[in-house]
Symmetry: C2
Subunit: 326 residues, 2 copies
């Protein structure tokens, strides 16, 4: 996995540097407060996965210039806006090992800064003057907020189905990653078939990314990814490992899982016990297996493109989306 | 004033009914939760000032059809999204005599529903396929969030100048009302001069509207407009009546004002005393006079248009924006 990460980072180092420049350039003329708050989130070592995929999607389809990099900032802003608002919604303790925004800054600042980034993203999109790009960005934003609302409405619902989970993670995570890839291909003037292929890659990478995140919530320690283990459980979010385990567990194991889910005082010992139940009933393996299948579909979506460095690094990113969990 | 209101309501009754239909039609296919939360705000007897001004702006410039009414929903969504997020930010007690959203619904729901309405507004805008309309809506959204952030940053700043106040209320209130008028004129295919005239009307009506609101905060009782008297003071928002009074007050009066502003326990008696200081030092009258001047500018912006019923009701609305304060 260290090799995979190193290979990706080497291949995209120059792109990441350009994306970083574009982010700084675009944020600079604005309010000090915005820069400080959003800067905390925007410049705390995020992975820039979304803008990177827009740049790579465009390159895969034959376009490679500063205009694409400039527009790629849009999807990082949308991502940051979602993180800011999610932190208010979740009240989570840790994200990437840092204190969340609503604890450094208060909830009002997080809400308003998120709004500003959302608005700035849509302003930038409108600057593209391309109605199809604008419609895609607007539709991403709408679906993401629907996904977040659905997730909020589903909190604590132990009857949540796998299909409902897949639809929620599609909206809240995959739609933005898909859109990043799609807009990249659109900006390159790709034909409809190419655009759908790149978008399909994005959807599958997005789903895998979220499933790996949901696995990490039960398998990582807080020294690793930096997110407190069991945060989803604490927030009443049922993810695939839990949904699957509940579906197949029987007798006292199932009873015990339901009883832990009904608790609102999660001790580390209880979290460990729950994670063991997920492993024992196959919920974690089932999720890993499903994610692996989706990685293959992501790679397969790129099959018709020439074997370029852009395609190679996109394939590596699909692998990495899952591999970071192992 | 009762006559003025009655005359406006009679003139626009049919438009308001059509706007109401468009709002319901547009919200219907969406999540139950969104409909319930946003419905509480969207269908609680709001004035529909913004969509109405888009419809009237278009009619003034010669267009009058269902497409305009359909798009006018955009500005009501933007307005509702702002109210939802403001309620989280302010923690205000009353708005239009009803419990605020974040008390009926929790802050997470208010944040996410606001995001949904914002996204829906921009999706609808992108459906217009008109890059200039889309850019205007995106830019309104951006300026509004800047205004809100500025207001948050300025909380409790007793050195706030009149110019800073005017810029903040322009961003947080006038820009949306201006934009509603502007988009109406744009949809009608008006020429640049006509568009700027209608937009100028909107800016001035928007400023007056906010100044009247800020006056009402010190002059209305909670039986009237339904907003708790002194809410701005409680939230540390310095409005023009206070800024002006602080600028002209001297000696013990000024000392007393500053001492009240430094309190965080506002009794009704203290609020009454503060309102009397605003009246006594001329802050309220100064604001009233300034608002009256802006009403005249709003009316003057329409002077070049033919004397139609649309122009007449827009003039009445300019009067009403201020008169509701008296």
């Amino acid at each position: 996995m260290a090799d995979l990460k190193k290979r990706i980072m080497t291949a995209v180092a120059e792109d990441l540097a350009r994306i970083e420049e574009a982010l700084v350039a675009n944020l600079n003329p604005h309010f000090e407060l915005v820069r400080e708050t959003a800067g905390h989130l925007l410049f705390s070592g995020g992975k820039r996965l979304r803008p990177l995929l827009m740049v790579l999607g465009a390159r895969l389809c034959g376009r490679d210039d500063d205009f694409v990099t400039r527009l790629s900032v849009i999807v990082e802003y949308l991502h940051a806006a979602t993180l800011l608002h999610d932190d208010v919604v979740d009240g989570a303790d840790l994200r990437r090992g840092q204190t969340v925004t609503n604890q450094v800054w208060d909830a009002p600042t997080a809400v308003l800064t998120g709004d500003f980034l959302l608005a700035r993203a849509l302003s930038l999109a409108s600057e593209s003057q391309d109605p199809a790009v604008i419609a895609t960005i607007a539709s991403i934003t709408e679906l993401m907020s629907q996904g977040e609302i659905q997730q909020l409405a589903d909190r604590g619902n132990v009857a949540l189905s796998e299909a409902q989970y897949m639809e929620t993670i599609r909206c809240k995570t995959a739609v933005l990653i898909e859109g990043s890839c799609r807009v990249g291909a659109m900006l390159a003037g790709a034909d409809a078939q190419q655009i759908e292929a790149v978008a399909s890659y994005g959807t599958h990478v997005g789903l895998v990314f979220q499933m790996a995140d949901d696995l990490l919530d039960y398998t990582a320690d807080s020294q690793g990814l930096g997110k407190a283990t069991g945060a989803d459980l604490r927030e009443g979010k049922l993810t695939l490992p839990v949904i699957r385990s509940l579906a197949v567990a029987t007798g006292t194991r199932r009873e015990r899982m339901l009883s832990i889910l009904a608790t609102d005082d999660f001790t580390p010992a209880l979290l460990d016990e729950f994670a063991e139940l997920l492993e024992g009933t196959g919920g974690l393996d089932y999720t890993r297996e499903k994610a692996r299948t989706l990685v293959e579909r992501a790679r397969a979506s790129l099959a018709a493109f020439p074997d370029t460095p852009a395609r190679k690094v996109m394939e590596d990113i699909a692998d990495y989306a899952f591999a970071r969990e192992i």
